[in-house]
Assembly symmetry: C2
Homo-oligomer: 291 residues x 2
Amino acid sequence: MEAAVRSCGNPCVVGFDPTPDSLPRSLRRKSRSPVSLADAYLAFARMVVRGTRGVVPGLKVQVACFERLGWRGVRAYERTLESARDAGLLVIGDVKRGDVPHTAAHYAAAHLARGGADAVTVHPFLGPDSLVPFLDALAGGARGVFVLVRTSNAESTAVQGSALDRGSLCSRVARLVHRLGSSYRGRNGWSAVGAVVGATHPSEVGPLRRRMPRTLFLVPGMGVQGGRARDILPAFDRSGFGALVVASRRVLDPCREARDPERSLAEASRAFAREVADALRLRGDGAGSRG
Amino acid sequence: MEAAVRSCGNPCVVGFDPTPDSLPRSLRRKSRSPVSLADAYLAFARMVVRGTRGVVPGLKVQVACFERLGWRGVRAYERTLESARDAGLLVIGDVKRGDVPHTAAHYAAAHLARGGADAVTVHPFLGPDSLVPFLDALAGGARGVFVLVRTSNAESTAVQGSALDRGSLCSRVARLVHRLGSSYRGRNGWSAVGAVVGATHPSEVGPLRRRMPRTLFLVPGMGVQGGRARDILPAFDRSGFGALVVASRRVLDPCREARDPERSLAEASRAFAREVADALRLRGDGAGSRG
């Protein structure tokens, strides 16, 4: 993952979560039934892949959008992953699965085995043994697992912010992620066991980073959900690595009415990448002037 | 749901979570590739439906087993649900989904809309707003949602048992389920918002029942996972309603080598139903003699 980030010069991931309304005009015509919607989503995915390859290191694909269309949607999801992988993008399957260990093993095989995603998102609610099958998949060639620690939605605090004797529930989950991840560190020192940490809780990013010093963060909630690039700087180390920042609507929305959707996607992802890269550079300068 | 339980005389649900090894002998031959495995799972599902209809009120289908086979598996899952519904079984989709609200809405549409399950299982980790799209589906004809409160796996306590100021995390989730469910009560007083409470934590069943007095429990972990019928009696009211008890391997395993798998399935589900019904009657007698 670090190589992909270094090569693109930014740690950005485009979130692909298609809906009938989000399709570019040329594809909206096709979007009547689940059959043709699935085809339209795949065609849109291929535009996104062509528009963002080489600009950002990765694509996060929301399986729920496809699952909504039934098995034809799941087939389009599989082909979307294939298309993104073939283009050299890191592919994160945003599947948020989590179950008892023997069932989690089915999910890990479904989503991380050959032909699946490079990394997936998972729920921590069932505890450490439910995560083990996903960690085992790392030995089999998968590149990462992102455990939900602090999500970006408005009412997440009702559960994740529950006050424990020491810290909150999400800080306990963070310790769990750090502990599990210590056996899965790459040569660069970062663990393949990552954490989802939403950009909408800026005051918590720094404390969570300190609890998980070698955990790669996947940061949704940038842009439309209200997170700003400077809010998430504590997630990064001095060299600008340590997190992947996700934006979806700010990249996808402008292409809806664009004459050349692929070009619009490329421009919007470049703008996103530039904003985050600039924020990281500013931080680098700041750190330099303090140092 | 109560009508189905009363009509069968037991609150049992057969858990269908097929693996290549669990198939009856006649279907194991087919089970080489994902293509034919998906066909074999569907054929097995139809045997289970024929063997259990009229004996137990419901079938819980584990989507992960199907998802592992890719889109062909998901197609077989959809057809399994259809087959069970057509036979008059209540169908619980064990999908354990959970995401931010706009994504949860996709999952609710995928799994609870017409053609989906009567009820599904969901994760509480993202908080109340993430559950709302599933609750909204109840107005659209879905029959139930079971929120994970206390799961049956060995290391679930590491998260669910986290000590809060008042009680544990799972008791907080229980309060949330009770509160959300109060707006979704049927004429019998029970809520369509249920809770997954594993049979492997017998000492917690009674306290969770008191926190969620009108919440239907879905109770996995009976039999092979170690839970016993008498351990879960506190989940039921005096009339023997209040929980659906799930068994999977004790019903499915005996048919692997049976000459007539369908008959074996019917016998094993009758034995399961009888054991639970007897335990409930004993309890009724006990309550009667005390009263």
